[in-house]
């Protein structure tokens, strides 16, 4: 197995663009990543694209806009973990020597569809049919966090306040605005205890990364950012999960990634994770081993996960503030970690970052804990 470098990263504007399609957003991210990598369209040997809504040869539709055609192209879907799945696919192709250089793209155009303004619910699914929605799913977990771990509504609001503060430092964020705990709590109730400002917005956008072998990377840079751990796992049967606020899927996936990378939670300098709904971030602290089960609330209250803290989480603004173009987020988190490791993250830079973790979770399937979890660990 070969080492794989992150040579180029790119992101489109994130926001509500009902007049723009996936091809336009994807091409904006892909061309930014090609330029950042310093490679030409004809250098791309393989391409992966992930999209959840209106799938259909999206990779080809995007890349013909930027001069990439007539190569192996793979379109993948894995709910919100789709982007992580695309990165993982490309990583495998390069790590195992099939190709030397390729691009992974994640894209979503939701506001151009009839899903705009709707709460998203699991489709073709027993629980979805009976009224489960995505905010509802995390509200059900949040209620157990309140019952078992002493989490309060204010704690959940504080996650949103933190990530919106980070988003104010990111010029690419969909919402660059500070909120107070009171404003978050007083925003419209969506699924008790989750209020509107604790929900990720509906976002159109795309992200892309160019990955390559170390031989190729060294021709472009003396100190490349590397992917040192990659893991992707599907959810196990839900009956095996005794408590819904303890995630075997997250714990097992991160264990695989840590083992491959040869690092542990104490070595991680920053984390980008799936904070689709504010209470979820506390759950993920525990999954990823940043603290013990049940201690996520304490970790949050300590300020450790804020910029300037011991282990900043979602310095980009996260899904809550930067926005969540579903399939794009799994690629975007990898790009964000790479940016910090290069030291180019501007006002939100995590100082001296050497090792970072990019997490993404996706999908609700009745009878399973979740659809999939994808984790990449990057280092420089």
């Amino acid at each position: 197995m070969r080492e794989v470098a992150v040579l180029g990263i790119g992101q489109s504007m994130f926001g509500k663009f009902p007049e723009r399609g996936a091809a336009s957003l994807g091409a904006e991210a892909a061309s930014a990543a090609l330029k950042d990598a310093g490679v030409k369209p004809r250098d791309i040997q393989v391409a992966y694209t992930s999209r959840w809504i209106n799938v259909g040869t999206t990779c080809q539709k995007i890349l013909k806009e930027v001069g990439v055609t007539f190569i192996e192209m793979i379109n993948v879907e894995n709910a919100c973990a789709g982007g992580a799945t695309a990165v993982r696919g490309l990583w495998k192709d390069i790590a195992f020597g099939l190709y030397d250089l390729g691009i992974a793209i994640g894209v979503e155009s939701i506001n151009s569809t009839s899903m705009a303004g709707q709460v998203i619910a699991p489709d073709e699914d027993l629980e979805g049919e009976l009224g489960l929605t995505y905010p509802g799913m995390f509200a059900l977990i949040a209620r157990r966090q309140m019952a078992e771990c002493g989490a309060t509504r204010e704690d959940f609001a504080r996650i949103s306040v933190k990530n919106h503060h980070h988003g104010c430092l990111n010029p690419m964020a969909q919402y660059q605005r500070e909120f107070t705990v009171e404003e978050v709590l007083n925003s419209r109730m969506i699924s008790d205890p989750i209020t509107l400002l604790q929900c990720c917005p509906q976002t159109d956008g795309a992200a892309a990364v160019v990955l390559c072998s170390m031989d190729v990377a060294r021709k472009h840079t003396t100190n490349p950012v590397k992917i040192i751990g990659s893991a992707l796992k599907s959810g196990d049967y839900a009956y095996k999960q005794k408590e819904i606020w303890i995630s075997p899927l997250g714990a097992e996936t991160v264990k695989m990634a840590y083992e491959m990378a040869g690092v542990g939670p104490k070595d991680i300098d920053l984390v980008e994770l799936h904070d689709a709904f504010a209470p979820e971030e506390i759950l993920r602290y525990e999954d990823l081993g940043l603290c013990q089960h049940g201690e996520g609330v304490e970790l949050l209250r300590s300020g450790a996960t804020e910029l300037g803290g011991r282990i900043p989480v979602n310095p980009s603004g996260g899904l809550l503030s930067l926005g969540h173009p579903l399939s794009a987020s799994g690629v975007r988190v990898v790009a964000e970690i790479a940016l910090h490791l290069r030291g180019h993250a501007g006002k939100r830079q995590v100082e001296g970052a050497r090792v970072g973790l990019a997490h993404m979770l996706g999908g609700s399937v009745a009878g399973l804990e979740a659809g999939a979890c994808g984790i990449h660990i990057l280092a420089r």
């Binding site: 619910a121 027993l126 009976l130 209620r143 109730m189």
Partner: protein, 129 residues
Amino acid sequence: MKERVPFQKGLFKEDQGGRLLGNKCSLCGRVYFPKARLCRECGHDELSEIELSRQGTLYTYTIGRMPASHFKPPCFVGYVDLPEGVRVFAPLEIKDGNPLQVGQSMELVISELWEREDKEIIGYKFKPV
């Protein structure tokens, strides 16, 4: 009277006050709802249908304030743990306007969930005992 149609077949029956229909592995005894094709614990493929208990404990709940699938808000939904070791997601009813509480006893009801054209679509819900 409108025709009553279950929202999905094979999940429940209406008599005896309503029962959820699961199945049980004849080898290891693990119980499933909805029914499993083969035992997910031991891989055994002989499972027999069982009627699940009508009462259980409210594990968690939420009140959705946005429309969800066939339902208009407020949408009370949650997980109820049954004594057979099964956790069931279901719409919930409240009683006399009292708030729901984690850990309270809940009871199965079979009732209309929504309407489709000229049909009454029935399914299962839980209500406080």
